[in-house]
Symmetry: C4
Subunit: 220 residues, 4 copies
């Protein structure tokens, strides 16, 4: 695929971008725990206070799973990338930027939900979904760039791989947008479960839709 | 042991998982220090305030030792792992997830203990122990998977190594559960010492029960 | 260029300095998100509260872009460095130190701007610009040292590369100083846009002014 | 020196310990900036508030320099280490543990000093010095262990190197203890300058007292 391309002078290999991304992902995933705080319960009511924080735990688990899936996808993608040009560096920084946003809507959801204000809960859930839309959009940009630049890939990478990945990311954009609408107009607690379902979907397909379809066709 | 296995297409090597895990462990261990805050003491009473925070220091030392031991175990294990499939990636992410929880019960214990409410202290200590149970369970899952998948290991790894490790992790599940019960119904301050003892036990055996038994049998 | 230099006994290679710098940059860029906090809005006013925080978002995006550009520059520079002596270690630590300051003026700007106090806004913006001056000065020191010590560089590095880089960093010193003056005496909100423009300027030229001029002359 | 030693079964190489240590150091050095907070100044008094925080800045610069020096020393030491046994792993974890404490006394000093309570200021400064004593003691243990275990070192390492390093760390123990006494009984602000002087001393000698003496004797 890419063996007949010459390396451009400004291309670099992926090692520092991968190390930097691993650093950012490991910090994001750990920073999430900083929002798990001891509850402000009256004396003798600690157990009750810990239990009452359950939306925080759900938001934490969901966001943790989400960042884990982003990391697995990032790993699967960079196994196929040989060179980085400047546009790909910025596309990668876009993924890191949008992933780093995740603790913010997570904190909004986990702070607002225990207060049981219906309108605020809807806004919080939709805000989380909106960040999901932005995050998936960053992946669409990233995969689409790789799809159109096979010269940056390792040899023997089937170009259709990034066709499948682009579609998978677009599905995320659409489904998070749907979750924002459903969460705002219908049922906010349900929306948290939709986020978890989306994280599972991306986890299960983290080796790429293309590989799954091929294995599906091959009868395994 | 594993030399007669072919590498599956979706297996990857351990380098990025190790780098990511090192990142997460180093952040967890450093984030613990963020809960060591200047005491809110009245003017002229700083020394008294610093001393009154002793349960915080004890909780900090215990959790630091615990994460250090988790890291040493992780290192000793991954020295024996050659390939990672998706299930092993998630088993590893489960260990990182449960370890990342540790600053939360640590903060609960260190915030509750200076208030001297007997019931809350018991809840806090049992909560810490419960997280210990979850953490050791993640190791049981991880070791048990490796025990049943020798094709992922380096050559010349004695399969009995992971038998011993699985037992060691199961011992942790049982002992932390016991500490939760003892801490809640008998003596909370004692439970903190039990946690420290458990950390020491895991530290001393961090090269694996199997190696220790073999050396024991060999007379050294 | 450097092939006729002998390696001095106290020189080290760049691997640990690069790994350490990547760690610091990835933490700085992620720590910025910790200042994105759920707004303290009255019940039912979450959406309004989220929107009212817009200066925080602008400050966040600007600082994120800035750190990303610093990282890209750092990467482009260290591709050309072969050995580090002690002075270069400290010049690198100076860049890390000044970059690590960035979340501080970012927090000052994003906390002060929603309060709409004209004097404080001017001070905050000028303070951010002053940190920019310090940060660019650290790069001037760093590039100037490399310019005068070609024996530390890889072979075949054109010495004029670091002439161009030194000038580029000096431009930053002057422009940030100008932004400090303009932001204080004329229009603070405009200054935030100037910061963003500076970040874009450094992003576009992150492969070095020298390369751009050479390509400009070559007709491409 | 060590070429006639066989590698023991439980020894490991230094790569993960170095990566983990780099992670911890880069987080500690960046976490320090989290204590630089926007001042709680009345409207229109931001500039005054920023200036009044000067002890915070001094504490920050001192601690940053200190961690930077610890990192340089760590790097210089591990260039000479070939194998790690379990005791050396724990000696290294002891250094990481005591270095990770540093943001705590830094926060105590920077919070207490602006309040101008003479007794609290003395306590805060002595507390900082006491942590310095503990930190240097961890280095004494570490260097002393390497001094007595040349089989863990690279070939051709002069054993006297670690004699000199042990002495250098012992000097730190004594000088920090002296600073604790002087800061408590005589002049606290002076003590901050002593800390900075100690950081400079360790920075200047970060390649080892032994090398400096040898170069001193060789007339260079």
């Amino acid at each position: 695929m890419s063996e007949h391309h010459e390396r451009a002078a400004t291309w670099t290999d992926t090692s520092r971008a991968v190390a930097f991304s691993d650093g950012v992902f490991s910090i994001i995933i750990t920073v999430l725990v900083l929002d798990l705080r001891p509850p402000q319960a009256p004396p003798g009511r600690l157990l009750y206070g810990l239990i009452a924080q359950w939306p925080t735990y759900l938001a934490y688990v969901t966001s943790y799973a989400y960042v884990a899936v982003v990391w697995l996808n990032h790993k699967a993608t960079f196994m196929r990338v040989r060179w980085m040009d400047r546009a790909l560096q910025w596309a990668n920084l876009g993924i890191l930027f949008t992933t780093a946003l995740l603790p913010f809507p997570t904190a909004v959801v986990s702070e607002v939900m225990p207060k049981h204000n219906a309108l605020d809960t809807r806004v919080a859930v939709s805000f989380y979904a909106a960040v999901g839309v932005v995050l998936c959009s960053a992946w669409v940009v990233f995969f689409n760039y790789l799809r159109r630049h096979p010269e940056l890939l390792n040899e023997n990478i089937d170009e259709r791989f990034f066709d499948g990945e682009t579609k998978r990311a677009m599905a995320g954009v659409i489904l998070y947008a749907a979750a924002a609408v459903l969460g705002y107009f219908i049922a906010p607690p349900l929306a948290l479960l939709i986020f978890l379902a989306l994280a599972i979907f991306y986890g299960v397909t983290s080796h790429g839709l293309y590989l799954m379809q091929r294995r599906g066709r091959a009868g395994k």
